[in-house]
């Protein structure tokens, strides 16, 4: 279970950095945060996993989308 979660996290991180549409990249970063929260819970750190799921996948994702709408939505690379 844990190696599979690691592979999904690495793939989500690489794709989040390569996509040029920043809204899609923010959504992929939220997915990365969620997979990493699952990884923390699988390693026995349930408090840390709860925190990462609420703050990383929830609040950080929302703040990124708000900042995107105030700046540009697409990037060059």
């Amino acid at each position: 279970m844990i190696p599979l979660l690691f592979v999904v996290a690495i793939v989500a991180a690489i794709v989040a950095l390569q996509v040029t549409d920043l809204l899609a990249a923010a959504a992929l970063l939220s997915a990365f945060s969620f997979v990493v929260a699952l990884l923390y819970s699988a390693l026995g750190a349930v408090d840390v996993g709860f925190n990462e799921a609420v703050l990383g996948a929830g609040v950080t994702g929302v703040l990124l989308v708000v900042a995107l709408f105030h700046t540009r939505r697409s990037s060059v690379d």
Partner: protein
């Protein structure tokens, strides 16, 4: 300097190092300032994962005391890195908030968040 020592019995550390390098690549090689911020978030996730992997014990349970398991410390996962990492996650969100505020101000002043265009406009401002 034996590189294969890491892969036998210490494999999760190798995965954490790969995530760390991906985060560093995002911060160093990407042109857009938002992408650099994404790289910083991935880097922070990898560091917290490194601490949590240190705290793991095989066959041990979650660090909530249970009557069935008693108070034997080898039956519970080490709780000290968990406490430190709770602080680290909240500080990471606060840092992301301040970085986004800075990005909005930069966009308001210069009209771009791309690194190459930004340096051009700064040079034009200086030479005026």
């Amino acid at each position: 300097m034996d590189l294969t020592v890491v892969l036998t019995g210490r494999a999760p550390y190798a995965f954490t190092i790969v995530l760390l390098l991906i985060g560093l690549y995002g911060m160093m090689a990407k042109q857009n300032l938002m992408k650099k911020l994404f790289g910083m978030n991935i880097f922070q996730g990898a560091i917290i994962l490194f601490f949590i992997v240190h705290a793991y014990k095989t066959g041990a349970s979650v660090p909530v005391l249970d009557d069935a398991l008693g108070t034997d410390p080898t039956r519970y996962v080490n709780p000290i890195p968990h406490g430190l990492m709770l602080t680290a996650i909240v500080v990471s969100v606060a840092t992301t908030g301040v970085a986004l505020a800075l990005l909005i101000r930069i966009y308001r002043s210069y009209g771009t968040i791309d690194e190459v265009e930004l340096l051009e406009r700064l040079r034009k401002d200086e030479s005026r």
